[in-house]
Amino acid sequence: MRKLFAVPLALLGAVTLTACAGADSSGENGEVYVYNWGEYIDPETIDMFEEETGIKVIYDEFETNEIMYPKVEAGASKYDVICPSDYMIQKMIENDLLAEINFDNIPNAKKYIGEQYWEQSQGFDPENKYSVPYCWGTVGILYNKTMVDEPVDSWSILWDDKYKDSILMQDSVRDAFMVALKLNGDSMNTLDTAELEAARDLLIEQKPLVQAYVIDQVRDKMIGGEAALGVIYSGEAIFTQRENPDLEYVVPKEGTNVWIDSWVIPKNAPNMSNAEKFIDFMCRPEIAVINFEYITYSTPNEGARELIEDEDIKNSEIAFPDLSKYSNLETYSYLGEEGDQLLNEYWKEVKSN
């Protein structure tokens, strides 16, 4: 056994040398802690930011708003820039977790981000004081044309026995309930127990048909042909179609969620001014367009949209939908402490059933 001792040591020696190169120290102008969704930025733009400003970016990713919140609330992990969605921003504002943004230090924001997105943001940030829109979109169904014969235009297809084990649902409370509530014709921000219970029962009824509850994996599974139908964010549509031309994205007729993910700065941010620099940098049209082309989520940055070279994408109905054409669109709002708990309770019941 003593000689086995040598195994880890030798291995360590061999790899540490190569690994050391990867672990560089903090930047000359400090650091900025960024907390963003998975696969939600082109790593290239981070490198460009680091190079230009000398600020080291410490980048971390979350899967859902619900996973992000406790980490920020607990305060053990202090971030400088976070990118939550609408209703979560509202929750953070109400719980006094966010700092007011000094827009004088982020001139690009007001300059390039379209007026309509600021108006839309007022639903959760009434005075546009706390957030800078980064991406927006809808939630819809992505389906594989070779596996689904009938036209897809309703959430109800996710309850069709024919597609047993070929349906992917979102593994996040709000999105899952949104689908069921919309199908019942209810508001997705309802606090009515009867409506929520009906939605819960509908989700329980659907469960045997569902292949898996996943989040970002919907993308890979749909590209790989693992499933026929999946609930997905509109931003993934262009990317997945590029990888697998059989895929098609639709917004069901019962309506859906229109969401905005925005940059915010938490109150306890240790590097406030670096955070402002970071947000301002990301609002530059030439940077925003790089990110758009990488993640393919709709950008609220008008300047960036001008820079898109591919005319098809620039005018794509999926990338930049004309929202007035759809009915029953809503944006999530924060349901309050009790509403959150109720929904969590129901979601656990769905999952444990």
Partner: protein
């Protein structure tokens, strides 16, 4: 004096990083948001969704433990009879998979079990009907057995090697057949290894959340998933701690069982 000095570092360490943290779990589990004493978080196990998750976890981990035992015992016996000078090598062969990350190994099973995965491809190659393998309780059991089997093999193997061959020979000389020897001599003597193997498989299976997420498609909620989500998503530490206390009751039962058989107090892990 020197004796006390030697004991100091570990005593301090275990108080700071074992006992105090554990006390905090109990503190959170037995209080509500206002800090007042309550048993509500523990009673919460009785709600339909929590008790379902707990029973399912108990059932799946029990099945995994039994499967592990029946796979590992014969294997340990066979290995034990092989050439003596390869002991260390054998032990190492079973630790070796651990150098391939635990999550990656589980992910590999995903690739094998998927709808268009390796196993189904092989099946359809032979014109056999494809099977729905992934995201079932069976897949989770498989993941548990796969990940924790080495923890059953090693302690059993260790306790078997410690048995004096003369005892077995004596049993044979006294007219016992192979089966009788196994049942009356070998098995009782290997019991400490079996018990510690059971602990090493049962506890991690009971409390896992990664395996059920990866191989169960988040469709199957185990008690580990519930606790993890209370901390990382619902940010209800009190409820999460309360459920952890419930979980610990099962672990303590297991510990009691373990110490009853392991009188030497040395364990048989390696």
């Amino acid at each position: 004096m020197r004796k006390k000095l030697l004991a100091a570092p570990y005593t301090v360490w275990s108080v700071a990083f074992i006992l105090i943290p554990l006390a905090m779990v109990f503190y959170y589990g037995l209080t509500d948001e206002t800090g007042a004493f309550t048993l509500e978080n523990i009673a919460a196990i009785a709600t339909a969704e929590h008790s379902k998750a707990l029973w399912l976890s108990l059932l799946l981990s029990l099945i995994s433990t039994i499967i592990c035992f029946f796979l590992a015992y014969p294997l340990a016996m066979i290995l034990c009879r092989m050439q003596v000078n390869q002991h260390k090598f054998i032990v190492f062969i079973f630790i070796l998979p651990m150098w391939m990350n635990f999550l990656l190994r589980t992910l590999a099973w995903q690739t094998l079990l998927e709808k268009s995965g390796v196993i189904n491809n092989i099946l359809s190659f032979f014109h056999l009907p494809t099977q729905n393998l992934i995201n079932t309780p069976g897949a989770i059991v498989l993941g548990m057995v796969y990940n924790f089997l080495p923890f059953m093999i090693l302690p059993i193997y260790n306790s078997l090697t410690k048995i004096d061959p003369n005892v077995i020979n004596a049993a044979h000389d006294l007219g016992a057949n192979n089966f009788q020897t196994l049942l009356k001599i070998i098995f009782p003597l290997s019991l400490p290894g079996v018990v510690s193997g059971i602990t090493m498989v049962f506890v991690p299976s009971l409390t896992t959340f990664a395996i059920s997420t990866m191989l169960g498609g988040s469709k199957i909620l185990l008690i580990g998933n519930v606790i993890e989500q209370e901390f990382t998503q619902a940010s209800n530490w009190h409820l999460g701690s309360g459920l952890s206390i419930v979980l610990m009751i099962f672990i303590i039962l297991n510990m009691v069982l373990n110490t009853a058989f392991d009188k030497e107090g040395e364990g048989n892990v390696i």
